[in-house]
Amino acid sequence: MSTILSSILFLSLWIIALFVLFKNANKLKKAINQGQGSFDKSNSSVRWTQMLKVAFGQSKMGARPIAALLHLIVYIGFFVVNIELIEILIDGLFGTHRILNQVLGSLYNGFTATLEVFAALVLLAVVIFWLRRNVLRIQRFRLSEMKGWPKLDADFILYFEILLMLLFFGMNTSDMVLQSRGVAHYSEAGFFPVSALFAPLFESMTTSTLIIFERSFWWLHIIGILCFLNYLYYSKHLHIILAFPNTFFAKLGAIGQLNNMQSVTNEVKAFMDPSAAQSTDENTVASFGAKDVTDLSVLQLLNAYSCTECGRCTSVCPAHLTGKKLSPRKIMMDTRDRATALIQDKEQKSNEEKPLLDGYISREELWACTTCNACVEACPILIDPVSIILDMRRYLIMEESSGPSDLNSMMTNMENNGAPWPFSPQDRMNWTKE
């Protein structure tokens, strides 16, 4: 293949990949913007610190040391191995061979060796991840919400990563052998300690076959990377990007603090002091709480798309541990799936009436939550399932008045005598006499 032709092909591939990526990114933005309000950017210095610590620094992963170590390897490996993309991009566009060798000089050997070591570690970690899911059958990966696509998705990512690493090694090994034969274009560059182990597999091949192998590995590797980039949108793997904005915009301050609804504050103030009531626009009849994803906030939807379905939340949920239907992870997955379905409905102008409440999340799940915040504490990227549960309870109570009957009596007591039990305020001091 002539250099110009392959350069054009290479450039076209990138343009197509980036075009699709851009389109999907826009769809994602639209899906998240179905939510209410805007992202809170106040206290940005605290937010930067939070993001650097939690997302970049992986500070919450350590609660499960084995998973944390494996994840850290893949995470660092991802950054390191992707530095190679710069070289691939230049080589692909200009037909050069290992261009960074000319820039880095004597450091290039160290550079390629580092990539090789990390690629090997990533390969090992990913294989262990696969074993954890498919052989060790760790329970949190096998709950009902993980059946079907979520399971396939998780395995698919692992197969994809294994394939990419093997292509990377194939590319290096064949290149290395070609270099050692002094073939034109394959000038000596780099040190490949891991690929050296595979070299014997290629040494018996003729040079022309070897060139075909080397080119195939090189092209498949970059095509694979571009495919993977575009697979993200359809996958839980989106967290590799969204974890950053998600930890940036996450709620600051005490975990136990729930938001006060401003719409309610206005009404309560008007009720308590009618004369001071602001003449707010009578036409804007507020609806309270969340029945569907469009009632949730943009942050709650970003949370949903950031979720990696690791299930740490569900594995510590007291309701789940005692056999109730609630799984915080399912709350997040349902929210995401509904937001995606709604965008698709709009595009296809169809109207499937299956809102988040009852269509995806049942009332039984919502009422099982103790708001203990174990799920929030467990999430490595600060996702808050409790806030969604609460907003949906708000809808049930304030719009439908359909809470469990015991709760209705509790609230009636509170309205009548200022306590959740039917005791008179007059008896509040009885404890001093008993």
């Binding site: 136990g256 603090q257 006060n260 929030v376 609460l390 001091m429 008993e434």
Partner: protein, 264 residues
């Protein structure tokens, strides 16, 4: 503990005498009405008196903080309660509030400021730690010598407000052996009462949450389960006796343990 009557001033009584107490002791609904929790209230009040803390209660002027209403989803009722309470607290120019209920603590501390109620709110274990620090509270050793105590973190004190060590520091004043449950601190398991669950039947499952937690308590072989939340106290009592009919593990609030050790 004796059943003698305590003379606890209300804020309005003190105001009539021109006195403004340093602390308002927010008793909470459980502390006022639940028979088990009332004992905690009494123990803590005795400690306050013995340590010469200037405090008063709101008495009839106190109303539910609104926590269970908010967490059940009734934001209207919550804000009605909150604003009424804030009106009372602001009228007394309240600065410091101490409460033995982590739910009231969380709500007053975190959710009242947005509605106009700005106070320095502390949990009773924090005040106990301060009193020890200032040597205003002394306990005699021996009461709990040889006893094994394990501490159950109330969600609304621990995860919700990041208070883990202070209650343990206070417990360390007792001459007892402190042991941790397998799930403690950030991983502590809920007692099952939060989010208004206290006031409803639980959803269908294979076990009650307090029974699951009781099994974790039992696994430590502790003589005493210490807690610092009236709701946890009630739930864990039930859980332990359900789990084992001949249960001998006592559930005690930190304030009760300290009061006992201080011979109050």
């Amino acid at each position: 503990m004796d059943t003698s009557e305590l003379k606890i001033p209300t804020v309005v009584e003190l105001q009539a005498q021109g006195i403004k107490p340093d602390y308002i002791f927010w008793v909470g609904c459980a502390g006022s009405f639940d028979d088990r929790a009332k004992k905690i209230t009494k123990a803590f009040a005795k400690i306050l008196q013995a340590s010469k803390v200037s405090f008063a209660v709101l008495g009839q002027e106190e109303s539910c903080s609104g926590d269970p209403a908010k967490r059940a989803g009734n934001e209207f009722l919550f804000q009605m309660q909150a604003m009424a309470n804030i009106e009372v607290l602001n009228a007394y120019e309240t600065q410091n509030i101490v409460t033995a209920c982590p739910h009231c603590f969380n709500t007053l501390k975190n959710e009242y400021p947005g509605l106009g109620g700005h106070y320095n709110v502390i949990h009773h274990t924090q005040l106990l730690a301060e009193l020890f620090e200032a040597n205003k509270l002394l306990v005699s050793g021996g009461h709990f010598k040889g006893k094994k105590i394990t501490y159950h973190d109330p969600c609304y004190l621990s995860r919700a407000n990041n208070i883990y060590e202070i209650p343990r520091e206070v417990l360390s004043k007792l001459d007892a052996e402190l042991v941790e449950m397998k799930k403690c601190k950030k991983n502590g398991l809920c007692c099952g009462a939060g989010g208004a669950q206290m006031f409803k039947e639980s959803e269908k499952g294979h076990k009650e949450i307090n029974v699951e937690r009781a099994e974790q308590v039992k696994a430590t072989n502790a003589d005493i389960l210490a807690s610092s939340c009236p709701f946890c106290n009630i739930m864990m009592n039930d859980g332990l006796s359900f789990q084992d009919e001949s249960n001998t593990t006592e559930v005690k609030d930190i304030a009760e343990l300290i009061a006992e050790a201080a011979d109050l």
